[in-house]
C-alpha cells in the first residue's frame, strides 16, 4: 500500500454534493463528497481507485518519499503558467477617432459627437505607433481599430494599413475594425474585403433592445446594423464578420430572443459580455446595470437554450473559460495572472496616450488618473514600458497571492482585473466580496464546472466547442 501525503490544493463544494479541487499546477479534479472527505482526512486507501490515480497524476497527492520532487514539479508548472501570461502582447488597439455616430447608453466616456473637432488621431503618429508595435511584438499580432466609430476616420485606417504593411513586413498581422457600421459604404467594403480585414460589430439582439441600447440621431441603429450585415454576407463574402452582444438590464428577460436574432442574421457565433462599470454615472448604472446573480440567471437560460437548438451555436465567453480551464490558455485578457495589462494588449489613444488595456483608456477618460497612462506615442519605445506606474499596476495582480483569491478554487483559472477594481473600489486589488468581477467570474466558473461534470448534454456541447471552436 502506497504511503501518500497530500500536496497544497484549494477546494469548493459544488452542486449535488460534489467537490472541486485545484492546485498551483493548474490542474483540477471533480470528486464525490466521499472521496473528498477521504482526501481531506488522509484516508487515501478509501478513495476510489480511478480518482486516486487521477489525484496522483495531477499532483494533489504523492507518495511521501516523492513529495519534495512533486513540489518542485508544481513550482515548474506554475512558473510556466506565469511565463505564458508574460508573453509579448499580441493585441494592439488603435483609436483613430473618438467621434461616433451612435449615442450608446453604456458608452458614455469613449465617444464624442460626430462633428466635434480635435478628437482624431493625427496621421503624423502612424510611424510612432508602428515603432512601438515593432518593439513590443512577436511575429503574430492583431491590430484592432477601436473608437468612437473608427470608420469616421477611414483615411487614417487606410494610411495606417499601408504603412504597417511596409514597416512590419516580417510580421503576420490580422487587422480588425470594431465598428457599429454607421458610416460604411461600398467603397469602404471593397477596400476592407480586398485587404482581408475582419469586422467586429456590436449587435445587442432584437430591435427593441439594440436600438434602445445603441441609439443614433442619424438612423435606426438596428435596421442599419441588420441591413449592412446582410449586405456584407450577400455581396462581400470575403469579409469575416463577428458580432458581440453587451447585456443590459433590458436584455436580461430575453436570452432566447437574443439568440434568435443572431440566427436570423445568419451567425452561429455569440460573444456575450456583461456591462463594464467604467465611467458610468450612478443613475445610468441604476438604469442599465444589474447584479451578478441577475446576469448569471440570464446567462444560464441562454446557454441552455443554445443547447436545445439544432444549430451548432458557439458562445465564446464560455469557450474562453473552457479553454482557460482545460488548456490553460492565456488568450483572454480578463483571465490572466498576472493581469493582461501590457502583456495582453496595448491601446494607442486618439490623443497619443498609450494604455495597457482598453479598460485603462476608458477609466482614464472618466477620471483623468494619469498613473494609468503608460507613455506617449512620441516616447522612445525602449524607455516606455519599464516605468514605475506600470510596475505598480502589475505588481499586485498575481491572483495566487491576492487576498480573497489565494484560497479560491478558481484562482488557477481566473484573472485579477486591477482596472475594474480601481474603477469600482479605488484600489488595484479590491475587496473580492464586493467585487462585481469576482461575483461574475465565480458564478461563471461554478456554472461551467457544474454543467461540465453534471449535465451530459451541456458537456457534449462544451466538448464540441473545445474541439472545433478554439
Amino acid at each position: 500500500m502506497t504511503n501518500y501525503t497530500h500536496l497544497p490544493f484549494n477546494f469548493k463544494g459544488l452542486q449535488d454534493d460534489k467537490y472541486l479541487v485545484s492546485n498551483l499546477a493548474g490542474q483540477h479534479q471533480h470528486l464525490s463528497k466521499l472521496d473528498f472527505d477521504n482526501l481531506i482526512h488522509s484516508k487515501y486507501n478509501q478513495i476510489e481507485q480511478k480518482s486516486l490515480d487521477s489525484l496522483e497524476s495531477k499532483h494533489f497527492i504523492a507518495p511521501k518519499n516523492e513529495a519534495k520532487m512533486r513540489e518542485s514539479i508544481i513550482a515548474s508548472k506554475l512558473a510556466l503558467r506565469i511565463q505564458n501570461s508574460l508573453k509579448r502582447p499580441t493585441l494592439f488597439m488603435v483609436v483613430p477617432t473618438l467621434r461616433c455616430d451612435h449615442d450608446c447608453h453604456y458608452c458614455q466616456v469613449s465617444r464624442v459627437t460626430e462633428n466635434k473637432k480635435g478628437y482624431d488621431l493625427e496621421e503624423k503618429h502612424i510611424n510612432g505607433i508602428l515603432e512601438h508595435i515593432e518593439f513590443l511584438s512577436d511575429k503574430h499580432i492583431k491590430i484592432e481599430f477601436q473608437g468612437g466609430e473608427p470608420l469616421l476616420n477611414f483615411n487614417f485606417i487606410k494610411n495606417f494599413f499601408d504603412t504597417a504593411k511596409i514597416k512590419l513586413a516580417g510580421k503576420h498581422i490580422e487587422f480588425v475594425i470594431a465598428t457599429a457600421l454607421g458610416p460604411i459604404n461600398n467603397e469602404m467594403l471593397e477596400w476592407i474585403e480586398l485587404n482581408n480585414i475582419h469586422l467586429s460589430v456590436s449587435f445587442d439582439g432584437p430591435e427593441f433592445i439594440h436600438s434602445n441600447n445603441r441609439p443614433s440621431k442619424k438612423f435606426n441603429s438596428y435596421e442599419n446594423t441588420v441591413s449592412n450585415v446582410h449586405l456584407i454576407k450577400k455581396y462581400f463574402k470575403g469579409i469575416d464578420i463577428s458580432l458581440l452582444s453587451t447585456i443590459t438590464k433590458q436584455s436580461l428577460q430575453h436570452p432566447q430572443k437574443i439568440v434568435d436574432s443572431y440566427l436570423e442574421l445568419g451567425t452561429k457565433n455569440l460573444f456575450i459580455r456583461p456591462l463594464s462599470p467604467y465611467g458610468f454615472a450612478t443613475d445610468t448604472w441604476g438604469i442599465l446595470g444589474y447584479s451578478a446573480n441577475e446576469f448569471m440567471d440570464f446567462y444560464k437560460e441562454l446557454i441552455n437554450y443554445i443547447q436545445e437548438l439544432p444549430e451548432n451555436i458557439i458562445e465564446h465567453s464560455a469557450l474562453f473559460h473552457l479553454n482557460r480551464i482545460f488548456s490553460q490558455s492565456t488568450s483572454y485578457v480578463d483571465l490572466k495572472s498576472p493581469a493582461g495589462i501590457v502583456f495582453g494588449a496595448i491601446c494607442f489613444d486618439y490623443n497619443g496616450n498609450i494604455f495597457g488595456s482598453d479598460e485603462s483608456r476608458m477609466l482614464w477618460t472618466s477620471t483623468k488618473a494619469d498613473e494609468l497612462i503608460i507613455g506617449h506615442i512620441a516616447d522612445e519605445p525602449k524607455n516606455t514600458y519599464t516605468k514605475p506606474n506600470l510596475i505598480a499596476l502589475l505588481r499586485d495582480t498575481f491572483v495566487e497571492v491576492n487576498p480573497g483569491c489565494n484560497d479560491c478554487v478558481y484562482s488557477q483559472f481566473c484573472g485579477a482585473d486591477p482596472v475594474h477594481h480601481l474603477a469600482t473600489q479605488g484600489d488595484l486589488i479590491g475587496h473580492k466580496a464586493r467585487s462585481f468581477f469576482c461575483q461574475i467570474e465565480t458564478q461563471m466558473f461554478d456554472f461551467i464546472f457544474n454543467e461540465y461534470y453534471l449535465n451530459n448534454q451541456n458537456r457534449k456541447m462544451f466538448d464540441g466547442w473545445l474541439s472545433n471552436g478554439s
Binding site: 497530500h6 497544497p8 498551483l24 513540489e71 511565463q83 487576498p403 480573497g404 484560497d407
Partner: protein, 83 residues
C-alpha cells in the same frame, strides 16, 4: 477549533449590507450579524459553509500552507533565473 484570523477570513465574504461584530470570551466566539432578516438568514448559511471550509483548510494546511508559499516563491525564482 477556529481562531480569530480564520473567523475574520470568513467574515470577509459577508454581504456589505450586513454589519457584523465579534465578541469573545475565553471559550468561544460570538458573531452578531445585523441587517434585513432574509439577508441575515442567507448570510448565516454562507458563513457556516465558509467556517466549515476554513476549518478544513486549517487542518489541511498544517505544514502545507508554508509549502504552498514555498512553491510560489520557487516558481518566481525559476522565472527570475530564466529571465
Amino acid at each position: 477549533m477556529i481562531n480569530e484570523i480564520t473567523l475574520r477570513n470568513c467574515l470577509y465574504w459577508v454581504d456589505e449590507n450586513i454589519t457584523w461584530e465579534l465578541e469573545d470570551d475565553d471559550f468561544k466566539w460570538e458573531v452578531l450579524l445585523s441587517g434585513s432578516a432574509d439577508l441575515v438568514e442567507q448570510e448565516i448559511k454562507l458563513l457556516n459553509i465558509n467556517i466549515n471550509d476554513n476549518i478544513l483548510r486549517f487542518n489541511l494546511s498544517r505544514g502545507s500552507h508554508s509549502t504552498r508559499e514555498q512553491i510560489i516563491k520557487n516558481a518566481l525564482l525559476k522565472l527570475a533565473q530564466n529571465d
